[in-house]
Symmetry: C2
Subunit: 355 residues, 2 copies
Amino acid sequence: MAEGEQVKNKQIIFKDYVSGFPKESDMMLKTSTMGLKVPQGVKGVVVKNLYLSCDPYMRPRMRDFRGSYVEPFTPGSLYSYSVDVMQPVVGCGVAKVLDSGDPNLKEGDLVWGMTGWEEYSLITATETLFKIQHTDVPLSYYTGLLGMPGMTAYAGFYEICSPKKGESVFVSAASGAVGQLVGQFAKLLGCYVVGSAGTKEKVDLLKNKFGFDEAFNYKEEKDLDAALKRYFPSGIDIYFDNVGGEMLDAVLVNMRLCGRISVCGLISQYNLDKHEGVHNLVCLVTKRIRMEGFLVAAYFHLYPKFLDTVLSYLKEGKISYVEDIAEGLESAPAALVGLFSGRNVGKQVVVVANE
Amino acid sequence: MAEGEQVKNKQIIFKDYVSGFPKESDMMLKTSTMGLKVPQGVKGVVVKNLYLSCDPYMRPRMRDFRGSYVEPFTPGSLYSYSVDVMQPVVGCGVAKVLDSGDPNLKEGDLVWGMTGWEEYSLITATETLFKIQHTDVPLSYYTGLLGMPGMTAYAGFYEICSPKKGESVFVSAASGAVGQLVGQFAKLLGCYVVGSAGTKEKVDLLKNKFGFDEAFNYKEEKDLDAALKRYFPSGIDIYFDNVGGEMLDAVLVNMRLCGRISVCGLISQYNLDKHEGVHNLVCLVTKRIRMEGFLVAAYFHLYPKFLDTVLSYLKEGKISYVEDIAEGLESAPAALVGLFSGRNVGKQVVVVANE
């Protein structure tokens, strides 16, 4: 527990494991107190959280399943004997250092990385934090464009898809935190790019803001195979998959010979107790397709190069980034839950405090 | 039509498109006549067929579907007005040249490649034939170990699986034409190798003849996931998939981080009108798995190297190969159909004639 001046600290608690779609009521707000000094001898930092990131991978963490690359959230129900010891939800965020026991960080530094869904956090795994050097961009971008989702788009597209100029690229959940960037990377490389999204507003964004060649609302398509054939009469070279399920099945039959599928996420499946079956895997053989999953954590050695590239693009006006900003920690549960009904338009961020 | 001396030519005709499991009665025997000289000006060869190969990929050719890498067989039913013009089934085989209009081939040469299911064939696509140079091995091996299935095992294992010494390798349909060789390649590299097959006899072969570390009868396992956990308590690095479906689903949850799946075939699915769904593709993401389909046709540039390697292994007694020999062209339909119930033990060959 941090020491020094005690302040009130609002926190979002994850109540219990969830099946089906998560609801706001699966989380709750509680107020505890928190010291703003790092305890003596601890190599940690006390931070004030500024922006929190809502990301699809947080849904699998609401399940009681330990075989994956991240542990489940600790449900508050485990501590029902005392609300005081319940731990907040954890996720990516941008924060300001208030006190530091780590020689690499000092008071006033801005950082991004794993933090708590609360106003103030004591972070001991400081080696996982990135110090923010470039502050001439919106700080919230370090939850998206310049943070984990941006790095995901970069690694997933350039490292997994082996893209070449002139190829045909399809991106699902294309207006999301990752998808909007993948599409713009592909356009900058000279690819033909089509995205799918779930509302007219998002489709308009894809075409008018992000410069996709085409975009469609998958909810308005009775036959996804027919929709893909309309936009890709000669087939798809690269599919950047954010959704899995039925769309993946339709894509498989529309892939070209030697196509590549980068499996980034399966948001369409995360709320199902049993994932839908994918029936067209025979296409992997008949079309010699490579399909590869990845986790961004394996690619952070590329972060400096990524940051240089994307900051340049941004400053030259070559890429845009759209965020959906929810105001106040209290709005965080609704913002997170909204990801799974596609309520957000662009990267979902929660503002906890302005600097 | 070939010229010269006319001989009787027994042929196996594919009658009509098939749904469900193919039956012997989906093919029929007919006898036509055939000249043994290549017509003047034709760059082809007339061959006497010696051995024919029964391969799983022939099942999809019995369907009326043109979107794949091979065309469907031409059903005899298209020529119901005259049995005389019906074309035989085509497949890989070993044959002896009787007459040649191609300067690269001469009378008496032995070749392997695509031929007809008949006693004598006129082959015009001579560029697809391989001249057999090494005859100090059973000639039938050029339908299996030294032919297309052998090359499939070689390319699929070395080129797709990126195998390393000490890794854990699982092979399904492991006693088949391809699987038996994949397992032996993996053992020679110093891997831990487990195979699955559908009878006790085949399981015994895997362990006692091919030197697999372990093997199991998948038909006797109620829970494939549990079976895989028994043999791979620390998980699977490489899965060489010959079957698809339920086994693939169970493998996915038992893969290790950064595992590789080479998708060679899906024999468990070929007789279904709609392929079974695979539900565990989320493991591609959480375990960073690469899953890649391939077709042997893309790797024939490696054939000389493959042949050197495998002939050396064979002569040094480092590998074995088991064939299931059916005698006579008349037995070919039953032999082919038997593949899909797993009746064959080892590579299924049909002897049409001895040299």
